[in-house]
């Protein structure tokens, strides 16, 4: 708490840690040793649950994964993941969000933190926790108090003007996924334009265009997640 350069304290060691207002760093609680938490957000129907399912299929053999889903209506997404059998049932839990999915991932993250911590504690060996948001709008980003990295998902069928419109999700997510590129010709969307518009808004942060339900559709995203997980694990080891 005494880390402000040039701000010295003239007291003996027994005086205790008297953090004055100048000393307080407004951050989240310590993260030591826990697994990386990655948020998957984006509008309704963009393919968040499909992405989580595909990532689990791709990564479950190499990483111990836990999944927390957020639904507007009860536990549909968790049920879908369990039904697809992408992870053992006990590795998936659902949080109910009281009509407001963005509140649960951004403004009041209590219920999600409860679920994430309980799941990580119970499983013990988790290396990657995926938190899937309920389908929401372009402004819905995850709190840094809940996740360490976030992926924002949009899709070609939602309109190719979406990246140009921007918003916190598109501009600030650590990874932007433009999903359902296989549908682009059928809905009159220009994938190249979407990627170009998105890149312009993202100051160099990565953009991936893919179709996550197709063979190899999730490869590039899985590689990004592997890299983030590896960096996190070595930094907190």
């Amino acid at each position: 708490m005494h880390g402000i350069p040039g701000h010295s304290h003239d007291h003996d060691d027994d005086a205790g840690d008297e953090a004055g207002p100048d000393d307080v760093a407004y951050g989240s609680a310590a993260n030591d040793g826990r697994p990386i938490r990655i948020g998957i957000g984006g509008p309704v129907g963009c393919g968040k649950t499909s992405l989580v399912a595909s990532l689990c299929r791709e990564l479950a053999d190499e990483l111990s994964i836990a999944v927390v889903t957020n639904d507007i209506f009860t536990t549909e997404d968790a049920e879908e993941l369990r039904r697809q059998g992408v992870l053992p049932e006990e590795r998936i839990v659902a949080v109910e969000t009281g009509c407001c999915p963005h509140t649960a991932i951004r403004d009041d993250i209590s219920a999600n933190l409860d679920a994430v911590e309980a799941l990580e504690d119970r499983l013990g060996d988790v290396q990657l926790t995926l938190v899937e948001s309920g389908g929401d709008n372009l402004t819905a980003i995850f709190s840094k108090g809940l996740v360490d990295r976030q992926v924002f998902v949009i899709d070609t069928a939602g309109g190719d003007d979406v990246p140009r419109k921007g918003g916190p999700g598109i501009a600030s997510a650590d990874l932007l996924l433009i999903n359902k590129i296989d549908l682009a010709p059928h809905v009159g969307s220009d994938v190249d334009r979407m990627v170009a518009d998105a890149s312009e808004r993202r100051s160099g942060r990565p953009v991936i265009a893919a179709a996550v339900t197709k063979p190899s559709g999730v490869d590039e995203i899985a590689a990004w997640i592997r890299g983030e997980q590896r960096d996190w694990a070595s930094a907190t080891a």
């Binding site: 109910e96 009281g98 209590s110």
Partner: protein, 224 residues
Amino acid sequence: MATGALALLADGRFPSGGHAHSAGWEAAQKLLQLDDTAALRSFIDGRLATVGLTEAAFVAAIIHRLDASVSIAWGEVDAEVDARIASPIARRTSRSLGRQWVRAARSIWRGESLALPAGDGDPHQIAAFACVAAHVGITPEDAVRLHLHHLVATITTAAVRLQGFDPFAIQRLQFDLLESTDRIVDDALSWQRVPWSELPASSGPLADQLIEHHATWDLRLFQS
């Protein structure tokens, strides 16, 4: 300072998990077909007069003891609160919200000596809330008023989200409730020095049953 702290804790943006709950309204509204603001008002009146008074009396009594530095037998408080909540689902909800208050408190007032309910499991919401209120210097009277405000606002917010009521009409409804709320505040404060086991034990059996029913639904928007 205490008034400022009161405003912080009164703000619905304070992150203590309440936004995902309807305090029984979703169940009552759907099962009893409560479709207008008159029914909403009746439901709130009922909750205030029953669980509202019971919880408020505990809040006042806890803060009174904390302010007077009287040691609290938290196990006894816990058991007495438990005994006043008939529905196991409602008990679980109360503890889950209590855990979220503890989380908020430990994170926000990190490094400060903060009296929180002692014990192995998660505390009830009112116990954790009362500790936070005492820590930031809020009086028993203001804390009780605040707790009742949150009870009412949890219900009205859910009603606005579920049924699209006019938000101005809902604020007027809440304003009109202040007079009857004052009487409950006075009543609750009169129990501050009374032993835990003798505190009010009003509850609503129908509301408890509705809460149990709600937990079995496949599709619901609120956790409770």
